[in-house]
């Protein structure tokens, strides 16, 4: 027996050594106590993870780190597809990043409990921040029941992107360039006129094959329920918050009914909007579906600029294009959905003072402009706007800036990604319905919306009950 053990001992020792040898790295950490505070910035829940964006952000970090001894910035990049899970794992695992961003309105509200309230900091440094400089429309985007949970960095107004070459070939008049000059009915008529099948037959002509459409009149860019329907100018974004804090779902109001019917019929009756399967076909191989030459019109945000620019630089997209105003909703109002990006501080991070210093610096005029140029957003700081403008005019000398700035008059407030109680579940219910609208030709959209509204109300009530 002892002979056996003697021979077995070396293995035991090796295993033990292995364990011991690997453990000391544990103790290495506390030893770094006198080291500078590292402000880890978690990138990926929004934009910011593309290679050229990464480079620009790292350059910013280098700039800061060269000038500061006590606080160091470290950008950490994650792929957008998986970033949320990684962030949640880190936070729950006790490894909390200091700052998360750039993050959109939806991300901010979806995990609204994770963010620190920065209103005290803003008040304290109001003068240094020059609050006047922030576009008045942007600050409210990140305010949640009295808490300011983020500083606006930049935002993305939306318009209708139009492939003018397709119009020219179809001999169809281009949409008007003035806000208020066309309606969703006009958009539908125009879109149908330019929709064309694989044999070159136009929608409405004899022999048109709806199963083999090659050019679609209208493309709902990466659509979701709230983003797609907000253009029909509902009175609120589907959520009414009463004085006493009660939340009412209003997703069955007329504007939503009209919007849902418009998209459903556009796919299955009027054949000018692609269904989910066709969207996949259009997206094949293109960084950005608009550059596929298979879309005549589509509403999207300024973030499309970057993709179009690279497709043009590579020679893959040679069509002539421009931006046009969003149409007037049936109720006579105009709404151009807006997205916004921000950096937010995490509640769970200990050294908030240091994080605030970095946050303040990132949203300063010079840095925010640099970041906005790589993200594609319009700077929330007004002083950066004309530089932003020159940057894009350089890339697209023909760009209709009147439409771009015109959209600022019609931004959606409350925002279509704005607060809902039990956000993730409510959002998911909306999306599940949206999926049905876009895949089931036989769905009764009105009855569906009533049922949806009741379901969402139930989700809101559940949150209220849990409070």
């Amino acid at each position: 027996m002892s002979k056996f053990l003697k021979r077995g001992l070396p293995v035991l020792v090796i295993v033990a050594l292995l364990v011991v040898a690997l453990l000391p790295s544990n103790d290495a950490k506390p030893a770094k106590a006198q080291d500078p505070v590292t402000i880890r910035i978690f990138v990926g829940v929004g934009t910011g993870y593309l290679p050229e964006q990464q480079a620009a952000q790292v350059a910013l970090a280098d700039e800061w780190n060269a000038a500061h001894e006590d606080i160091k910035i470290e950008f950490e990049f994650h792929d957008n597809e998986t970033a949320r899970d990684e962030l949640l794992t880190q936070v729950s695992g006790g490894d909390v990043p200091a700052i998360v961003g750039p993050a959109g309105v939806r991300t901010v509200y979806e995990v609204s409990d994770l963010w620190a309230d920065i209103s005290a900091y803003i008040e304290q440094d109001a003068e240094e921040l020059n609050l006047d400089d922030f576009d008045a429309a942007t600050f409210g985007l990140f305010e949640l029941s009295g808490r300011q949970i983020a500083m606006p960095l930049g935002f993305y107004p939306s318009f209708i992107y139009v492939n003018e070459t397709i119009f020219e070939e179809a001999e169809v008049e281009l949409p008007p360039t003035e806000y208020g000059a066309w309606t969703y009915e006009d958009l539908k008529a125009t879109a149908m006129a330019v929709t064309q099948d694989a044999n070159g037959v136009y929608n409405g002509e004899e022999g048109f094959d709806p199963a083999a459409i090659e050019v679609y009149g209208y493309y709902p860019f990466w659509t979701n329920f709230r983003a797609s329907t907000i253009g029909f100018s509902p009175d609120d974004a589907g959520v009414q918050i009463g004085e006493d804090g009660t939340v009412t779902a209003t997703f069955n109001q007329d504007a939503f009914r009209q919007a849902v019917k418009f998209f459903h019929d556009g796919i299955f009756v009027d054949n000018f909007i692609p269904n989910a399967d066709a969207e996949g076909a259009i997206g094949e191989g293109v960084t950005n579906p608009f550059t596929s030459n298979r879309i005549a019109m589509g509403r999207s945000h300024t973030w499309l600029f970057g993709g179009i620019k690279s497709a043009m630089d590579d020679g893959n997209f040679t069509a002539s294009w421009n931006v046009y105003p969003v149409p007037v909703a049936p109720n006579g109002k105009i709404t151009a959905a807006v997205h916004a990006d921000t950096f937010a501080m995490m509640e769970g991070f200990e050294n908030k003072d240091a994080a605030w210093e970095v946050l303040k610096w990132l949203t300063a005029p010079e840095q925010s402009l640099k970041l906005c140029q790589v993200y594609g957003c319009m700077p929330a700081r007004l002083s950066g706007r004309s530089d932003w403008e020159s940057y894009w005019l350089e890339a697209f000398p023909f760009l209709n800036l009147d439409v771009v700035y015109g959209a600022l008059e019609y931004l959606d407030a409350p925002n279509h990604e704005g607060y809902m109680p039990n956000f993730a579940r409510a959002w998911d219910a909306l999306e599940a319905f949206w999926q049905v609208v876009r895949s089931d030709p036989a769905v009764d959209t009105d009855a569906g919306l009533d049922a949806l509204n009741a379901e969402v109300q139930g989700i809101f009530d559940e949150a209220a009950a849990a409070e």
Binding site: K3, T47, D79, T89, D95, L131, A136, T287, L382
Partner: protein, 494 residues
């Protein structure tokens, strides 16, 4: 010889049977081969898709008619009689005509809005402005120095004809903005659209107008019953205009055809540079090294530890072995999604986050997949062999080394191979435990970074995918020799 004799004596029934068997053998092998080739075609199709996609440009991929093989439509370079034009937005400082005075307009930022105020004068350190949108209103006094303000700009959308201009040292392609009196002209530089136009003392006729040059796509167009290759000049709703490349100066042919229904004239046009682009984009060699290191080292750990544990389970008749084995199996039954966070906490406590340790060390402590596999094999090795060794005085280590390991060699190779391949393609664990930062990452994570929110550059993604697969495929191709070669069991070579 026998065979020949069989041919001669045809009446021999045995020989006929022999022939029959031979024929069946050949037919059998042939059928087998056909079946295998058929299946191989199906199983290769994803790779064919990957390969062809990896060799295409985004433009080729997005063409709805693109053939499987990477091809581009043939083009014809056409110099049209038309003039090349340039559309642009000209931004220049805004001025306000105020009571006969030309005032410069500035952007004044107040309370989150930009106001366009024309500067009138400075009175006792106070600047006086006129609201450009409402000049009738009373002047506005602000304590702002004009020097700190940015001038407001007017956007003018213009379209100009382009010319080749050569005047003294001013040379280049410029757009003609205006013809002035007295043989003078006003020009703009398309490279610098924000600069004000400049004047040259030349007439328009002194500059050379630039003709529009286009690469027209060639189509196979049916004309009067025959198919001709024509270059598409202009598409209309009901017809199209074509240029005949053989006779470019003739009037364009107006034909009553739908362009989208026509076939293009294709040319082979692969783009192998996607592979190098993909390699650059994901820092391929660095990640390759990381991945290889992790896969090799953890594979070793997995194989060694699984061998020991499986040996312990199968050869020693220990009490509660079955219960222990079920516990071992149960560790892979619980969905990893719910253990991810607690596991992260464990590694974080150990200080292993951001290092390779979580991807390597746990494998030195065996896992259920490998132990189970080896258990199944070791139980198939007859006990009489280790008994014989035991009789010869071998200790359990010697038995393991001299009896079990040689007998279970294919299974050991399999474990190493599978672990290597698993580790090579493992995505979730490196993603969570290595943290962000590309230089510390592995191929699977680097590759996934191609899949992006609003876009996916599938050509690069497929190229990177193929590059990632090369090693496991090569390893597999060569390892199967060891894996498949005759295994010595019970002393009989197969």
């Amino acid at each position: 010889m026998e065979r020949i004799r069989g041919f001669i004596s045809n009446d021999n029934a045995n020989q006929r049977n022999y022939m029959k068997r031979e024929v069946y053998k050949v037919i059998g092998a042939g059928t087998l081969l056909m079946i295998m080739i058929g299946i191989a075609t199906v199983y290769l199709s994803p790779l064919v898709y990957m390969g062809s996609t990896a060799l295409k440009t985004e433009g080729q991929l997005s063409d709805p008619d693109d053939p499987i093989v990477p091809m581009s439509p043939q083009t014809y370079h056409y110099v049209s009689p038309e003039v090349e034009t340039f559309r642009y937005t000209y931004r220049h400082p805004q001025t306000l005509d105020y009571q006969g005075q030309q005032l410069t307009v500035y952007e004044v930022i107040q309370q989150g809005k930009i106001y366009k105020y024309a500067f009138l004068e400075t009175r006792d350190n106070v600047s006086v402005f006129i609201d450009s949108e409402n000049p009738e209103a009373a002047p506005i006094e602000l304590e702002i120095a004009v020097e700190d303000l940015k001038p407001a700009l007017v956007n003018e959308r213009l379209e100009v004809n382009l010319y080749n201009v050569a005047y003294e040292d001013v040379r280049g392609q410029f757009g003609l903005v205006e013809e002035l009196e007295g043989n003078r002209t006003l020009w703009m530089n398309p490279e610098e659209i924000s600069e004000p136009p400049f004047e040259l003392p030349i007439a328009t006729s002194d500059a050379e107008i630039i003709r529009l040059e286009q690469d027209l796509i060639l189509y196979e167009v049916p004309v009067d019953g025959e198919i001709r290759e024509l270059a598409l000049l202009e598409t209309g709703r009901r017809g199209a205009k074509f240029i005949d490349p053989e006779n470019p100066d003739a009037e364009p042919l107006e034909l009553d055809v739908r362009v989208r229904g026509l076939d293009k004239v294709w040319d082979l046009d692969p783009h192998p540079e996607n592979f190098t682009d993909a390699m650059d984009a994901i820092d391929y060699f660095k990640l390759f090294g990381n991945t290889l290191f992790i896969a090799l080292v953890s594979g070793l750990g997995a194989m060694v530890s699984a061998t020991l544990v499986a040996y312990g389970f199968t050869r020693f008749n220990i009490p509660y072995a079955n219960i222990l084995f079920i516990i071992l199996l149960s560790t892979i039954v619980l969905p990893p999604q719910v253990t991810q966070i607690p596991t992260y906490i464990v590694y974080n406590k150990l200080g292993w986050i951001g290092t390779f340790f979580p991807l390597i060390v746990p494998h030195f402590f065996s896992n259920a997949y490998n132990v189970f596999l080896l258990r199944q094999y070791m139980m198939g090795i007859p006990l009489d062999m280790d008994e014989a060794a035991r009789v010869d005085g071998a200790n359990p280590f010697q038995i393991l080394w001299y009896v079990i390991v040689p007998a279970a060699r294919p299974a050991l190779v399999a474990v190493y191979l599978f672990h290597f391949l698993f580790s090579w393609n493992d995505f979730q664990q490196p993603l969570i435990y290595l943290g962000g930062g590309s230089e510390n990452s592995v191929l699977a994570v680097g590759l996934a970074n191609f899949t992006r929110i609003y876009s996916s550059q599938q050509n690069l993604m497929m190229a990177a995918g193929i590059l990632t697969m090369l090693v496991p495929l090569a390893v597999f191709f060569f390892a199967q020799r060891i894996f498949m070669q005759g295994v010595v069991i019970t002393g009989v070579e197969k």
